[in-house]
Amino acid sequence: MTWSRDEMAARAAAELTDGQHVNLGIGIPTLITGHLRDRAIMLHSENGIMGLGGYPLPGDEDADIINAGKETATTVAGSSFFDSAMSFAMIRGGHIEVAILGAMQVSVAGDLANWTDDGARVKGMGGAMDLSVGAKKVIAVMTHRTREGQLKLVRECSLPITARAAVSTVITDIGVFDVREDHFRLREIAPGVPALDPELSRMLRPGR
């Protein structure tokens, strides 16, 4: 068995410490909100919100309160609104303790690739490069293989890089991997996952 998307989100939530300011990327990371009830966590939204809440109740939608995915949102007690320069000052200046981002590839060195799936048809990096460089700690959340079956945990990224040496922990459907410069450390394996793929096992050992 592997972890579902929601189980991965729950596992990522468990990496957070109360009191932290956290930015959640688009994709699986947005599911983490559902696992933060009663947690003393402030969510940062790159479009200018500290203290993002969940979706509004029907009828309470406000076009001026949206998250970075352009979805209607709410705010929690103690929230604030600010402009985009201030929002990225928080990110780039290291004031956001954790960013949890979706990923296409993560290398043993913590290189992150998540902004474009090939170099020829780019749509833009949005805030991904700022977040991965600026947050004090970056956690990547992704399935460990592509739909086509290729490993997304890699020795070196083949896709265009979002940031070098950015990711410290990768939460996947098969377990939790810590980035250790020249290898991954398997910190936790999802219950019932069979023996690791030999290619992945090799990445648990130092060197190339």
């Binding site: 200018g48 203290g51 939608e61 949206i66 352009k70 600026g134």
Partner: protein
């Protein structure tokens, strides 16, 4: 010395062909629809638009594109928008893709008289190395022009790249409230790039939901001082605020709490 313009059309009348225009908003949120509509009506063409993202296909900025009035776009993201993506990939427009935080800082710096700054964002990536397609060959599917590499320098043992600031001839922005001399208040996340675009422009034009007298906004509560604003268009409560992605939640079950510090 009231800055209230007669109409949106009058406010944008001197935007001539070839100008660089910074447009506030994040997708549909905080985007100055009435001013963009007026710009569309004005006929100005060959425009260089600076805006964070172009919104969905239904966005006002997309209408400018569809009408063939956009030469170049500087943005952090042009996905979610098939028109922009196709115009870019088809070679019809030039696109500078800029990390969102760098774009915000370029505008703020441009407005603040800082011509260039170093940033860690993009080090070791195609932003620093150059090679992001800027323009595609017409119909070829191949890039005809790539972004230039950035100068990289080391400070205290860490690498940073040098980014030039952005200024604009005009800014089109949206706020909730203005006083007659252009002091502004924004609402919620509709603030986003609006103050920065206004700061970066030689002439900043704002559309607002309501106008109050000078002094009607307490001086501690002004989000953007009127010194940055040249013209105010009063929408008199008729501001259109579309929602890009409507999401709602079921009522919280009894005993359910919320997060927050």
């Amino acid at each position: 010395m009231s800055k209230i313009a007669e109409s949106a059309g009058a406010a944008v009348a001197d935007i001539t062909d070839g100008r660089t225009i910074a447009i506030g908003g994040f997708g549909l949120c905080g985007t100055p629809s009435a001013l963009i509509e007026a710009l569309l009506q004005s006929g100005a063409t060959d425009l260089h638009i600076i805006t964070n993202n172009c919104g969905p296909d239904s966005s006002d900025v997309t209408r400018l594109l569809r009408a063939g009035r956009v030469r170049r776009v500087s943005a952090s993201y042009i996905g979610d928008n098939s028109e922009f993506l196709n115009s870019y990939l088809g070679g019809a427009i030039t696109v500078d893709l800029i990390p969102q935080g760098t774009l915000a800082e370029k505008l703020r710096s441009g407005g603040a008289g800082i011509p260039a700054f170093y940033t860690p964002t993009g080090v070791g990536t195609a932003v620093a190395q150059g090679g992001i397609p800027v323009r595609y060959g017409s119909g070829s599917g191949f890039a005809a022009e790539y972004s230039a590499p950035r100068h990289v320098a080391e400070f205290d043992g860490r690498e940073y790249l040098l980014e030039r600031s952005l200024t604009a001839d005009f800014a089109l922005v949206r706020a909730e409230t203005a006083d007659t001399i252009g002091n502004l208040r924004f609402r919620g996340a509709a603030r986003n790039f609006n103050p920065l675009c206004a700061m970066a422009a030689r002439v900043a034009i704002v559309e607002v939901q309501e106008v109050v007298e000078a002094g009607g906004i307490p001086p501690d509560d002004v989000h953007l001082p009127g010194v940055f604003i040249s013209r105010v268009v009063d929408l008199g409560g008729r501001m259109r605020k579309p929602i890009e992605r409507l999401r709602t939640t079921d009522p919280v079950p009894a005993g359910g709490g919320s997060h927050g510090l």
